[in-house]
């Protein structure tokens, strides 16, 4: 198996007795756009801060580009190759947009002047305005410009489209698609399942400090299905469902079943129940997400 650009093993972090990460095993394949999902407080930002070397883990290990993030020199080397947008999107408030860009540029030898110009125009950023006077959305755009222009091999973005209007969101997602076509890996957290479903090819769902679902989005969608079983008279249920049934809900003479694997076997089992007729439906990422974070 090819090593992931990001790999964590049994990563743990506790804050004042509260376990934020409880053995996180994460693997982000090279060249992917990885959507990192989870409810508020699930551990997304903690994970990102650990990867960036901004926090120290209490247990387990994390590697980026194969280098452990805990090694002091490693963290610096890693940060050179990463573009990072934090949740709070902090910038020097007293500088103008133009000054921030000129200040940032020399830190990155692979700086992409072409992309810088492109984003300046696309995001309609006023170069002479002070950062302190920018709206939240404008600040996000500036942060994205600074991050995406630096020619990074890996982008780690904590809710990159948070606070952006739909048009700007579309622009950012389109640029992420373009940048990935050039070989960059993108790891981003988001609450917008629709945008994740659009742009991500891999996803991970974190809940209470553990990764509970992970994989290629197409594979997950192929594996998961909803079965709708309608009964002619009364609802029958087997003593034990085949493994892979995540959830069963009864509604009148109908059973609605969410299956995460063995869908064919489960459909056979449902068809063998007296008076049943079975239909199969694809599921959305939203259904997969809600099912897992609610039942966990």
């Amino acid at each position: 198996m090819i090593d992931g650009v990001i790999e964590t093993t049994q990563l743990c972090k506790t804050f004042k007795g509260h376990a934020a990460l409880r053995g996180l095993n994460l693997r982000v394949p090279e060249g992917s756009i990885f959507g990192f999902l989870g409810r508020n407080g699930a551990g997304k930002t903690t994970t990102i801060k650990l990867l960036m070397g901004l926090l120290h883990a209490d247990g387990g290990s994390a590697r980026v580009f194969g280098t452990p993030v805990t090694v002091a020199d490693g963290a610096i080397e890693i940060r050179r190759r990463i573009g990072f947008v934090s949740e709070d999107k902090e910038l020097y408030p007293y500088m103008t947009v133009g000054q921030v860009i000129r200040f940032t540029r020399p830190f990155f030898p692979k700086w992409r002047k072409d992309l810088e110009r492109r984003y300046l125009e696309m995001f309609e950023l006023p170069q002479t305005r002070k950062v302190a006077d920018l709206s939240k959305g404008m600040r996000s755009k500036l942060m994205l410009l600074l991050t995406m222009s630096r020619g990074a091999e890996l982008l780690i973005l904590d809710e990159p489209t948070d606070g952006l209007d739909p048009a700007a969101t579309e622009d950012v997602l389109r640029e992420l698609a373009g940048i990935t076509a050039e070989g960059t890996t993108v790891f981003f957290s988001s609450h917008q399942l629709a945008e994740v479903e659009l742009i991500a090819d891999h996803i991970g769902i974190i809940d209470r400090g553990k990764l509970i679902v992970s994989g290629a989005l197409d594979d997950l969608k192929a594996r998961y299905q909803r079965l709708q079983v309608v009964f002619a008279d009364a609802v029958h249920s087997p003593a034990q469902w085949v493994e892979g049934v995540e959830h069963v809900r009864q509604d009148g003479r109908m059973l609605s079943i969410l299956a995460s694997r063995n869908v064919d076997e489960i459909a056979d089992q449902a068809r063998s129940l007296p008076g049943s007729s079975v239909e199969r439906y694809p599921v959305t990422l939203k259904e997969i997400f809600l099912e897992h974070v609610r039942s966990n």
Partner: protein
């Protein structure tokens, strides 16, 4: 050529893209020798993952619809036209089936469900050959 994907439909995006390209061939919007947009262009136009576009192109190559030429892109193959003729024949069959179902009083949604359901059973390998309506 306009492709439109619906990410929340539950159908994998690479599959949706494949279907739409095949459809474009069937209706002769794309002909043998025509070049598909580059992976990057397609990804940006549709705001989708380039790896997903690549997967769709590779599957289409596997099915003999397109030819991937290294460095120059994806082209519709000659044989795809033959496939398109078969599909036009299929269209006629489906059309008459739908007319018969409609004459039984089935609505559009009911017909669609009947088709979807039969196809699902077929792909599950449990097709008993009897229509269940």
């Amino acid at each position: 050529m306009i492709f439109r994907l619906s990410p929340s439909s539950g159908v994998p995006l690479y599959f949706q893209l494949m279907e739409q390209i095949k459809h474009a061939v069937e209706i002769s919007a794309l002909r043998a020798g025509d070049q598909l947009p580059t992976i990057r262009k397609m990804a940006e136009d549709l705001v989708m993952n380039p790896n997903t576009v690549l997967r769709a192109y590779r599957e289409l190559e596997h099915q003999g619809i397109v030819e991937l030429k290294h460095g120059s892109g994806a082209f519709i193959r000659e044989t795809a036209d033959g496939r398109a003729r078969v599909m036009r024949k299929a269209q006629g069959i489906v059309e008459s089936a739908i007319e018969r179902l409609a004459s039984l009083g089935l609505t559009e949604d009911e017909i669609r469900r009947a088709f979807d359901n039969e196809l699902a059973q077929l792909s599950a390998g449990k097709h008993a050959g009897k229509a269940k309506l």
